[in-house]
Symmetry: C2
Subunit: 213 residues, 2 copies
């Protein structure tokens, strides 16, 4: 007997994992532009150049496409935070860490929209916390945890403001999500000059988190 597994009759035309990526790329662009519920599966299929049932060979449902995009955006944000958030011992260092979050959202509005601002299938709106509430206690696996530990470090060094680092982390997180989601959701609003607004916002949030001196 050959023993070794007889593998894979293999792919046809332009198929394979590439198709899956094409679908995700088209869906991300369309969702970001028209919203999850403003885009039909037929539109996605047409953008990719396949027929609509083909999507269901790669994803179980439209929601699963959105879920995959959500997960990817979330992992990307986490990765950026993980490499970008260093020891935060000065106001500038804290502000720089927070700025990573803001920049991610502003540089990838489509991903941020899909991941954190679009109403989910159960009427819930996903945000930048853990997707599954059950893994909240698992450390190091969520973007929020990285922020939480940055704030906790501040307090360990005696640099943190307030008496509750956890509460402070939640306030700061809310402050960031608020600005990102508003800037993305209302491009027509007469915002102040963006760089000044974002820089000022981050500086203020960093100030909030640090003891006065």
């Amino acid at each position: 007997m050959p023993g070794t597994p007889q593998r894979s009759p293999r792919k046809a035309k332009g198929a394979g994992p590439e198709r899956r990526e094409e679908i995700l790329a088209a869906a991300l662009r369309l969702f970001g532009q028209f919203g999850l519920y403003g885009v039909s599966t037929r539109q996605i299929a047409q953008a990719v150049g396949v027929s609509q049932p083909t999507l269901y060979a790669y994803f179980a449902s439209k929601d699963e496409i959105a879920a995959e995009l959500h997960a990817r955006a979330f992992r990307e944000l986490e990765a950026r935070l993980r490499v970008g958030v260093r020891d935060a011992d000065t106001r500038e260092a804290v502000a720089a860490g927070l700025r990573i979050y803001l920049d991610f959202g502003l540089e990838n509005p489509d991903a941020y929209r899909v991941a954190f601002m679009i109403e989910g299938p159960h009427g819930r709106v996903a945000v930048a916390g853990p997707v599954d509430e059950s893994d909240v206690s698992v450390p190091g696996h969520t973007a929020f945890d990285i922020l939480r530990r940055m704030i906790a470090d501040l307090h360990r060094r005696g640099l943190g403001a307030g008496d509750d680092p956890e509460r402070m982390a939640q306030s700061v997180w809310a402050g960031m999500h608020g600005l990102v989601s508003l800037l993305i959701a209302r491009p027509g609003f007469p915002w102040a000059e963006r760089e000044a607004l974002v820089a000022g916002h981050v500086r203020m949030l960093a100030d909030m988190a640090m003891r006065r001196d």
Copy 2:
């Protein structure tokens, strides 16, 4: 000729403006619970006790029902801010004004969701700014304007922090919207005790807005 107008063959069973209110009440409850796209017009009709086409005698579309709820929530928030935001000359007074916004959202999560967090028909997410961008310059007609003027007053009295009241107002606003939307969207998240979190958050935002002394 009688001259006076021959008025109104009048309403039938339980009809009239009441029906419209019943529809709005049912829609608000269902939208808040399951989301705009998680509720069908047939479900709304069943909750009211009428058939589905009846809804279209009172509203031109499902979106118009959501738009009406949006407008009402917006007016209610404005009304609360108008009567609640007095001269803000101390940190506590500013915090109290901000708290009105937060309390509104937390006490009326359904309304806040429907009004400010649900993805609209065009893929836009409505937030607590003016609905129509064109009336941004009209003073006194939006919730944001009330906040804007509170901050501007601070600066006029020499109590404001930073050099740009407009930018500050936008930052503070984002800070509030962020916390409200996160608290509503993620009830399962291990939040800190709500009263302490909210009170601390508004205090911090008020601090941000006021000159250090």
